[in-house]
């Protein structure tokens, strides 16, 4: 006897996989009770899944798992080592930058001391050592002029 077609047979696969919503599954179950085409399709799909399952073993052999564990260990070690190398390179770059900063700030401080000495000397001696040619000498001139006004020594 040849089974007729049913337009709902395409949904039997989704029902077999548990992919129908609750209401749709309930309606399918009611339909399966009355439709030999769809009921036969469901039986075949269940048998097919069983055949597919038997054909490919579920368990993984121990030597294969050991190889996979070794792969994970090896890869993670290499990733961690690469990360450590990058961090060390970054730390070295920071140290070099700090060293450069310290060296250049030291030179600036030395120049500042020389500048301070010039106006300090002018403030103490009320005498500008040289004609004001730059900011430092100009400042010394002003300080001398101010201090002279205060002491009445213009």
């Amino acid at each position: 006897m040849t089974m007729g077609a049913c337009d709902r047979v395409r949904k039997v696969s989704a029902y077999h996989d548990g992919e129908l919503g609750a209401e749709e599954a309930r309606l399918m179950e009611a339909h399966l009770a009355e439709c030999p085409v769809c009921a036969g399709e469901l039986r075949t799909l269940r048998a097919l899944s069983g055949v597919l399952s038997r054909a490919v073993p579920l368990e993984a052999p121990e030597p294969v798992m050991a190889r996979l564990y070794a792969t994970a260990s090896d890869v993670r070690e290499r990733v961690v080592i690469r990360l450590a190398e990058r961090l060390m390179a970054a730390a070295a770059a920071v140290l070099v930058a700090c060293g450069v900063l310290l060296w250049t700030s030291g030179r600036t401080s030395a120049n500042a001391e020389l500048q301070a000495a010039a106006w300090e000397r002018a403030a103490v001696t009320l005498h500008v050592e040289a004609a004001p040619t730059g900011e430092d000498q100009q400042l010394a001139q002003w300080i001398v002029q101010d201090l002279s006004k205060e002491t009445g020594n213009d």
């Binding site: 597919l52 294969v64 996979l68």
Partner: protein
């Protein structure tokens, strides 16, 4: 170790060896089964899984956790399996053999060796699109939503392809079916 996926990933990213082993333990057997269904030779299937896990651990930081670990690994494995096919094709100069018949199996009392060969042969005769959806469902147990995510296709396409793949397999494996 009984960790949720988020914590497992966090530890593995930090280089925790125990977490990495846990990932292999949880997902390795399923990946191997999936690879065996896609790639004919057992040795090639093991290579595919090893390459999958290697790629996964190297790129752990880029995994955005929008999908499950299983879905993510399945996606990587499909790419590795495709590469394995192409490599095998080049090696065999066009004679791509996915039937596993190059590895003759001793007939078992329950015929399990025959069924394995026949199933792999039938799967190999499916189109790539049909084979992938079917093995992801049957051997990885992924939902239609997860399969759609792995393959980057709509869920309706997954449902349609699985239905058609099963109709083809029914015809090719009818000797094993009631």
């Amino acid at each position: 170790m009984d960790l949720g996926e988020a914590e497992l990933l966090r530890r593995a990213r930090g280089g925790d060896q125990a977490a990495c082993r846990e990932i292999v333990e949880r997902f390795g057997p399923g990946l191997l089964r999936l690879a065996r269904s896609l790639v004919g030779q057992p040795a090639d299937a093991e290579d595919v899984v090893q390459e999958t896990l290697s790629a996964a651990f190297r790129t752990l930081r880029s995994f955005e956790e929008r999908a499950s670990i299983k879905t993510w690994l399945s996606r990587i494995l499909l790419r590795q399996a495709a590469r394995s096919h192409r490599a095998r094709y080049r090696r065999e100069a066009g004679a791509l053999d996915l039937t596993g018949q190059a590895e003759p199996a001793a007939p078992a009392a329950d015929g399990s060796a025959d069924i394995g060969i026949d199933v792999r042969s039938a799967l190999a005769e499916l189109s790539t699109e049909h084979r992938e959806v079917l093995v992801l469902r049957e051997y990885q147990g992924l939902s239609y939503t997860e399969i759609a995510e792995v393959l980057g296709v709509p869920m309706g396409t997954v449902e349609s392809r699985i239905h058609r793949a099963r109709q083809e397999l029914k015809a090719r494996l009818r000797d094993y079916l009631p």
